[in-house]
Symmetry: none
Subunit: 210 residues, 4 copies
DNA sequence: CATGAATGAGTCTTCATTCAT
DNA sequence: TATGAATGAAGACTCATTCAT
């Protein structure tokens, strides 16, 4: 009887979790199509084909749902980016870097809707929200900054303002991805794109003077 | 008597235009503090210390006011950026580039509020608006793209995907300025900042291998 | 379980339709008391004892509600008036006429509020509205005109400008009903009233000269 | 010096009165074009080509202006309608009646704008206003009623409910004029129209049975 | 759990009227 | 007198959230 009960409970939990996921998926689509402000709860429940009340059974508010959506994405990206190990020498370091960029691009690509939100809409809700976003971007640029400083100590990265440079790197990645995701088609292969971005950031625009 | 009349009229016009400016200034502040959506007309008239009706005496709607604010800024920036002339050789070209970056930074700095709005909030109001913004950013990246292509034909810029590179350049500038304007203080001198950004974009991160 | 579900749904629908009716009734009263313009949505929801939002759950706008109110009444009246059949000879024709007048009066009486609105307030909202009203009154006078022409061909109605006469008939009915409905009490019996109006229109004021 | 002063004063008064008239004329046009509610003070001052403040120099409020407009018209009509003298016998009485109808029609025609307002728009402003209108229409139907009673005592008017009949007469006149004034063109001659209306009201629709 | 009717605070916008010049 | 900028009360409508069934 306990077993049966557990089974029921489990099934119920699974169902519950399933509903949640459905709502998350629906709202992802709605939010990235129309933006946060233009998306109403009515839009979301229509997309998810549930009743108004049901929505509030799974999320305390529209804002909380949006927050969860963003945090999920932030967590994914953060998970893909980690410190570069210097144990393997220069080539290994560059390979790791390349891998990170590639992984980040992949995550952004597979979360097209969310990424667009993250890149342009997730601002201006309230101070609380902005803080969270700033914290995320700070963390990202800190990681880049750390990598650059490390690179300098390895004699790999040239002498420059690493903080400024980290913003440049972050900005170039954001802009390229925004253009790619909002633009018509993804013409270029993701690997090639990663190489291109890396290439730009590492070598700059100028032809090296012999 | 005509003189008197003219004087009156003129003064009235000046006062009128002054009020308009006051409202623009107030709304600039409000919008960049709270974002477009979180700013109500009530906030704006409170900041401008005018009555509700007065607002609509000068602007047909909240949206129209915002539009004017953005277009003003877009026009300023666009005015500061122009094609680079190749008549003066390499050094001249680089100088012109440096001048443009410097000018743009100056404009953004002196329009701190508006810039913040332009860089993050001006999205998601409606399709019409997004189109305008996209058009602006497209124009900017087109200009950069053109400059890069020109640079290539002059043997100055190395072989690369100029479109991709133009997004990178645009993105790095946007991100650096956003950090600078939203961040606590403007520690670094604007000239140095311009040099830093240019340096990053031109030479990249890597130490040149001899 | 399906039964239960159906039952619920059905009850909900009935409740829903009931609310709608309540709002219609309340607004009928408010509109005919204060007129369209002087009636605010606040008045209507106060009379109906519902919340602001509830109103817009059932009607898209104040104007749409008013439109529905009028169209309902127009439909009722139009339904009571139809062409007179000549199959039964003169007496039958006069009986039919008498029946129509009687039915119209009854409808107007049982829709006191709406009638008052129709007779005096339903004008000047916008061109669209005026067109609808004009169309209705045109239809009415066309029907009367047709009946008079028919009467002439039957040798029943004397030679006169039927168009002009149809307006006179329409006008006398409108005015009498307006006085009756806005006046203090309905002293006279409806049947007697119908006879009186008919009598006036058929025989005129003058004592027949022998 | 007194003379001069008086002259000035007089001229000023004349000018003042002239301005008033201009505003009245302008508002007459505006009101009858768009109706009371759809006409804003802005419309009126635009039509009169005066400043906002000037309007309130001559009229305390929009409503008061409208009231004056209507009262002026009411006075005119009331002035055209007076008790019928019985001194001259039957023919004279009918002639007088005919004259009244003719005069009323003429007044209404020459005040087309105002008449339209009076006939349909002048309702629903507030209770005060409605009272005034009711009083006017009551007076009109009282006059008719009186005439009918007199006619009965002269053996001219047949036995009928004179109150009811007076409403019928009033209504037929109102409706015919409304159609005429709002309709496309004034095809029929005013004299003929007067005869037609009178004919309808006096003899009714039916062909007299021999 | 699910539903959807009900709520009401909040938003933009209009416009008759006032008042300093 | 004449002007027109300024006012603010009032109105229509939206939408996130609640709650009885």
């Amino acid at each position: 009887m306990d077993d049966q009960h557990d089974g029921r409970k489990e099934r119920a939990t699974r169902r519950r979790s399933h509903r949640r996921t459905e709502i998350l998926t629906a709202s992802r689509k709605v939010f990235s199509d129309k933006g946060y402000h233009a998306s109403s709860v009515a839009d979301i429940i229509a997309e998810a084909r549930i009743a108004r009340g049901t929505f509030y059974l799974y999320f305390p508010s529209k804002r909380a749902l949006f927050e969860e959506l963003l945090e999920e994405m932030i967590a994914q990206i953060a998970g893909a980016v980690h410190r570069i190990s210097t144990d393997g020498g220069v080539d290994s370091a560059l390979d790791q870097l390349s891998g990170i960029v590639r992984r980040v691009i992949d995550i952004l690509e597979t979360n097209r809707h969310l990424t667009i939100i993250l890149l342009r809409e997730a601002v201006g809700l309230d101070a609380d929200f902005d803080l969270k976003l700033n914290a995320f971007y700070s963390r990202m640029s800190d990681l880049i900054d750390g990598a650059l400083t490390l690179g300098q100590s390895m004699g790999l990265v040239r002498d420059c303002d690493t903080r400024l440079a980290s913003y440049c790197v972050l900005g170039s990645l954001k802009e390229v991805m925004l253009q790619r995701l909002t633009g018509a088609g993804h013409e270029v292969d993701a690997g090639e794109l990663a190489r291109g971005i890396l290439d730009f950031n590492l070598r700059g625009l100028l032809k090296p003077t012999p």
